[in-house]
Symmetry: C2
Subunit: 326 residues, 2 copies
């Protein structure tokens, strides 16, 4: 291979994964939303999430939102395990020519996201960069009632279901990139909601077998569940719920909303594999409890490795950091 | 203030520190080498350390060394608490045009440093950047025999002592920047040794009151002990041990080696405050055990906030990420 673009982000992650040792203190290493570590009698969840200028955000976005979004993305990894967010560290790499007010507002955004998730900022690192702003947000958490939901628990026959309306953040990005300054979709891009409570609630139900957050797009993240669980994934695009406002925006902008629903990332909705027999009951209870849809969008099959949308291999699976332009 | 350079890296850290809440689960938050968290019955150490191209390393350096140095710097934060390094996460931000071999060699360097410290790589994040390479290394550890050494335990009358020969990495950087390709000094820059065993040994002695690793230079890091402990710091430059090879290199290069000893960072030696009455015994035992000098370089005074070198305020304290050019 001549460059990382050809290897791909996930090729690189697999390369690392094949080469690391996993001692007994590591309950879950590389390959899930969080690592799960044994600390005394406790299990500890930890994840880190980079936000880079011109990849995850633009300098022209509201400063507070830049921080909020970066922190919410990291917190969503704890949500995807069904955990409680506890602590956060913040690494920043910034050009010294910036005004202090800029960094202060970013930090306020980070603190607001951390605060609403119940996490305390306990440390970090600060370095200079030449031109590019970069944040690495590290979150630590604890499991809920001793159980974590991994990507690898799905079984053939399980229903694949998603919370909320995936794709709205991608629609919001389209709106921002096309000159809109505010609105519901843009709000969902700038102020995503990590589904922490929903994740914990789902973890309480043994019929929920696997969970991941939608950070790279429904198709790609469903694919991760398939790979880790050794099951096939059959998605039906017509089932994916389309947000009303997104639908209207897509019509006006001449876009296909299903593309956003299938491969738009950074919504941080939860994607779960649930036992068929228990799905209807869990769905009803979930919607009553959270006033948020939990929608069947496909199923897990016995054909390990297969990933289909409407019966055919997907055209595009979602975002790859080494392959795609943002 | 018009820019972050005027605020300074430490001004910014203080700004954040004044604004965060510290719940009961946080034994030590912002302001030490690691955060110390209460996880069940255990204490957990965590720190993160960014390495940025053209600040912490150059693209022309050996690829393996770029990774090794980044990881060693992070591991040194565990050493500075007297802890055991256990786990590591690696965030990388890289231009996709790089060859996979480059990133693979960096990862090998990181793994070698982690392995020699007994730490397992358990996760991370991977994103694209436009041009700049950046690594954020997150290390987690456990205290040794239940005790951590903080920056804030020094008392007036304590001896300030340093392990090894601070300044050699700065001398190595000078050599590299002036065209040298290899040698002992350059080795100390590229392959620094986190003083993990030494840190744990020091933690076992109650007469050792405070500890920090030398990452920003002896003067600046001694200053951190002073600030956190509420004591004065009086350093004597003539006492700082000068490595023979560094001395000869400085003579040949027309440089003053004391400048490197006082303000050269990234040696990752340990700086400790030790009870005067116990110092001689600890020094003797330490040197016999580790074949490494532990040298008195000054003392803690009752004059809180005062920082002097040879009786006068220091000309330069060391590196500030927002103020200095590398």
């Amino acid at each position: 291979m001549s460059n990382l673009g050809e290897m791909g982000e996930f090729g690189f992650i697999q390369y690392i994964r094949d080469r690391v040792n996993t001692p007994e203190s590591v309950i879950k290493g590389i390959g899930d939303d969080c690592a799960v570590l044994r600390v005394g009698e406790q299990q500890l969840l930890i994840s880190c999430d980079i936000s880079t200028q011109d990849v995850h955000f633009r300098r022209g976005w509201p400063t507070h939102a830049i921080g909020y979004k970066a922190a919410a993305a990291a917190l969503s990894d704890i949500a995807a395990m069904g955990g409680h967010a506890q602590w956060m560290l913040v690494s920043v790499s910034v050009p010294p020519v910036l005004e202090p007010e800029f960094l202060e507002e970013v930090m306020e955004g980070i603190q607001d996201a951390a605060g609403s998730a119940g996490a305390a900022i306990v440390g970090g690192d600060t370095t200079r960069s030449r031109t590019t702003l970069m944040f690495d947000i590290i979150v630590l958490g604890l499991p809920h009632q001793g159980r974590c939901l991994y990507r690898n628990g799905a079984r053939p026959g399980d229903v694949l279901a998603v919370t909320g309306f995936p794709g709205v953040a991608a629609a919001g990005l389209h709106a921002v990139e096309h000159g809109q300054k505010a609105g519901t979709l843009i709000d969902r891009l700038w102020y995503p909601v990590p589904r922490l409570e929903e994740g914990r609630w789902l973890t309480e139900r043994t019929a929920v077998h696997a969970m991941i957050d939608v950070s790279d797009g429904v198709v790609q993240d469903a694919g991760h569940i398939g790979e880790e669980s050794g099951v096939g994934i059959a998605l039906q695009s017509a089932l994916i719920p389309v947000d009303d406002i997104m639908h209207r925006y897509a019509d006006a902008a001449g876009q296909n909303p299903t593309t956003w629903s299938l491969s738009g990332g950074e919504d941080f909705e939860l994607l779960v594999a649930i036992e068929e027999a228990s799905f209807a009951g869990i769905q009803q209870e979930f919607q009553a409890r959270f006033h948020l849809p939990l929608t069947r969008i496909g199923e897990c099959t016995g054909e390990a490795g297969a990933l289909t949308v409407d019966g055919a291999p997907p055209v595009s699976t979602g975002f790859d950091h080494f392959r795609d332009e943002s």
